[in-house]
Symmetry: C2
């Protein structure tokens, strides 16, 4: 803590005297002047797959005799499967068999894969990523889902296999823990505190805050605008196409 | 307008003098002292069927080659099918064939009926209606859907065939026009301005305001709380069970 505190105090003194900050003056809370990197969620943010996930979870839960209202499933898409099941176990009346809980993620994945043929890119997703690349803005994808179907979404988006992709399998904790976005930033050599997290769910935005990144919400996963703002989004757009049309608002310079 | 104006002025004078209002003093804008009647939406409010409707519309649109992001379908469930298709025709790039538009409602209904087996009552729905009946609170159901599948939802809820049910077929305009709720109030002999509309969608709440009823929003259709508040809900609950637990807040007296 000592060195950080001293650097921080030095920075305050320099700021007070009107002296420009030195590069190494930046403490944890210092504003960041570099152009942001973009860390994207996948389902509901780049591909239109949230409602297929919802119905797949509903099918999986019904297979084991659990009747959970569908909107409550919807509101948990994108969070860590383990946390989802923990919450579920507390909420469902009666005791859940540990074997049943262990079987659910597999049943959900199977049910989702069966519906995968109907998954499409969200409007503007490919164009947005291509535009960032064309302007040398680093970006990566970080998803609470397993690699098994995240790879298939990359194909739907027409992205190459070497696209920076962090999946559930690569971190200890999924969203709303910050690990996925922290690892994604590291993978592309970006400072996470200078990064923008783009996601459709409350879990993306909570993870963004814990990672000390800025969060941009997209409505394309079916959350309401205010839910995303109240979860910490500093800006909300409809979908990737709408974000692309407003990149100038969020730190991407594209000279005419 | 004359008689209404005179009654209204008389009521103001009586109120100014501290005289209790007479029964016939009530103008359109006068507060209403009678216990409210309840006018319920059906899908997403009493039965857990919104996501099946969403997927059914997606299937129907895909059958005719229209690729609409699923969240945009979700946000239109519960509105008049005709208005939905008008909006769609404006939004979809390229010209929509009138024959295609005419075929869509039937395709949607077929796709919904195919998924109907997975429709369940929402938690507390039956108990809420039984409690209102037990306390002599009049209630009716008013849905933008056709009688064909609304009747099936009554069966899911275990309600008798003579339940007051207003469907799309019985009015000229569906939600967000007020006709369904106005007709529902008439059917049960209730004053709509003394009624409470209970619905899960923005369209229910807009129709409630146009009917000069009070709107209660339920989260069980997948809208966010703030979307419902900003659409005019004077109170929002999770689902029928949550409303039942809070009936005391909205004008239903249940002495212990």
């Amino acid at each position: 803590m000592r060195p950080r505190g001293r650097a921080h105090n030095e920075a305050r003194v320099r700021a007070f005297r009107g002296i420009a900050p030195r590069c190494d003056d930046r403490g944890m809370d210092a504003p960041n002047r570099s152009a942001p990197a973009f860390l994207f969620d996948l389902d509901g943010t780049l591909v239109d797959s949230v409602y297929q996930h919802v119905i797949a979870w509903r099918d999986a839960l019904e297979e084991v005799g659990i009747d959970l209202p569908v909107w409550k499933i919807h509101r948990r898409i994108g969070m860590s499967g383990g946390l989802f099941l923990n919450q579920l176990a507390r909420e469902v009346e009666g005791v859940l068999d540990p074997e049943v809980i262990a079987a659910l993620p597999g049943l959900h994945t199977d049910a989702f894969i069966r519906r995968f043929d109907s998954v499409r890119p969200l409007p503007g997703a490919g164009e947005l990523l291509a535009t960032l690349s064309a302007h040398d803005v680093p970006w990566a994808i970080a998803t609470s889902g397993p690699e098994r179907y995240a790879r298939r979404s990359l194909e739907v988006l027409g992205l190459p296999a070497e696209t920076p992709l962090i999946t559930r399998d690569q971190v200890r904790y999924a969203k709303p823990d910050p690990d996925l976005f922290l690892t994604a930033a590291e993978r592309i050599g970006a400072d996470v505190t200078a990064s923008v997290v783009v996601g459709d769910s409350v879990w993306d935005l909570l993870a963004a805050r814990r990672a000390r990144a800025l969060g941009i919400g997209l409505l394309s996963g079916g959350y309401g605008r205010e839910e995303l703002v109240f979860s910490g989004a500093y800006r909300v757009y409809e979908d990737p196409r709408d974000l692309l049309a407003h990149l100038d608002e969020v730190g991407v310079r594209r000279p005419l």
